[in-house]
């Protein structure tokens, strides 16, 4: 019981980092983390041991996927980052570049890449979080890396997908 809560508590900073990179929006990210925590706390009986961090990543990943589905069904207007803004030099520009490159990824690829490089999960853990075979994780990773390279090389998609 104590271990369960402690496990959740110590994962919060990492969950915030992951959510922020996933959504690229501070408020949205923290809402997602809070929803994840509330759900986890209510679902203690569903947690059958194992790595609590992976379990929390799974909840958060699913909540985010549901969120995007709900958005996709609504004809809502969403702020789209201003792709045409002039590039400025310096580290700021680098940070924005990687942010936009991530934004250009398909959700499942972004999730896989972030879980591996940012959160340090193993391929097997990512496979469990995403509920797919390891081979699928690897191909998502490969495609994500290819797309980021293409994006940074300036081959930005002519048509942005509108979510």
């Amino acid at each position: 019981m104590g271990g369960f809560r402690q496990g959740i508590e110590s994962a919060i900073p990492a969950l915030r980092r992951y959510a922020r990179a996933l959504t690229r929006n501070v408020e949205l990210a923290d809402d997602l983390v809070q929803d994840t925590l509330v759900r986890a706390l209510r679902s203690e009986h569903l947690f059958h041991g194992g790595d609590i961090r992976s379990w929390l990543y799974t909840i958060l990943t699913n909540l985010n996927r549901n969120r995007l589905r709900a958005l996709a069904r609504r004809p809502a207007l969403q702020a789209i980052d201003d792709n045409d803004a002039p590039e400025t030099a310096g580290p700021e520009a680098g940070a924005r570049d990687i942010e936009r490159a991530l934004a250009s990824l398909v959700e499942d690829q972004r999730t896989a890449l972030l879980l591996v490089v940012l959160e340090g999960l193993t391929y097997r853990e990512v496979a469990e979080v995403q509920g797919v075979p390891i081979g699928t994780v690897m191909s998502r990773l490969a495609r994500a890396r290819m797309q980021i390279k293409a994006y940074l090389d300036g081959e930005r998609p002519a048509l942005r997908r509108i979510k």
């Binding site: 706390l41 209510r42 969120r67 589905r69 709900a70 940012l118």
Partner: protein, 261 residues
């Protein structure tokens, strides 16, 4: 045994970058990279990407954790009405898109009161919140008269909550033709002119949890208690709407109204 010199696959290059390469293949990959500059360049790019991602987001994990993530608070909240409703709203929001999760179950079973009332309430909301000169029939300055009049017409002792603590002034109220008899609409206004309404209608449906519905720029929260359906409508801003509905609910809950004998 794996041949140390067997060609290195793309998967292995990724595994190498991510430290997942089998120990007995590491040497082979390194040898391969030494003699295949294009692959070495790709590996370097992937590493640079990972570094950029970590540089951009890595430090967020060392930020102090805000108080809203206090687990005790989140657990305590989970037992109170507020968070149950909040969770319902969030779930509805996540699962439902337009109409909440509970509505799906309900509407599958029978033509839902939820749909009927929220449609009515949102329609009325949309029509009257834009009114500048005649938003209501009886103004909030005449609150006792407003309560008395609407209670009489609905044949129900209405509670019209005071939402000033939430920054909302009572504009007033009006009578509406409802699907099953008269309904009432009370309007509130915030400092920047944003308006919220509470819709009241008699109903025979049993008590329900809060349900959420979004429609264009507006959203509504619906619940039923003691034979009265309530719909709080406002701008489609989840948190704010929930706070207003909570404040209204809490006041109504403190002195539960009754159908007139």
């Amino acid at each position: 045994m794996i041949d140390r010199n067997s060609p290195v696959t793309e998967d292995e290059l990724h595994a190498y970058v991510d430290d997942e390469i089998a120990a007995d293949r590491r040497g082979a990959v390194e040898a391969w990279l030494a003699s295949h500059p294009e692959d070495a360049a790709r590996v370097a790019q992937w590493r640079a990407q990972a570094d950029a991602i970590r540089a951009r987001y890595g430090m967020l994990a060392s930020e102090p954790v805000p108080a809203r993530f206090d687990l005790d608070k989140l657990t305590r909240g989970a037992r109170s009405w507020r968070t149950v409703a909040a969770a319902a709203v969030i779930v509805a929001f996540l699962a439902g898109g337009v109409v909440g999760w509970m509505a799906r179950g309900a509407s599958a079973a029978a033509p839902s009161r939820f749909d009927t009332f929220t449609t009515q309430a949102l329609d009325a909301h949309r029509v009257y919140v834009v009114e500048v000169r005649h938003p209501v029939e009886v103004t909030g300055a005449e609150r006792p008269h407003l309560v008395q009049w609407l209670s009489k017409r609905l044949d129900y002792e209405l509670r019209i909550p005071d939402l000033e603590p939430s920054g909302l002034k009572l504009v007033g109220g009006r009578l509406l033709p409802g699907p099953f008899g008269p309904a009432a609409l009370c309007m509130y206004e915030g400092p920047s002119g944003e308006r919220f309404t509470i819709y009241y209608a008699r109903t025979d449906s049993p008590q329900t949890a809060m349900r959420y519905r979004a429609a264009d720029r507006f959203a509504a929260l619906y619940w039923v208690e003691h034979g009265l359906a309530y719909v709080v409508s406002g701008p489609a801003e989840r948190e704010r709407l929930l706070n207003v509905a909570q404040a209204a609910y809490d006041q109504i809950d403190k002195s539960p109204p009754q159908a007139r004998p």
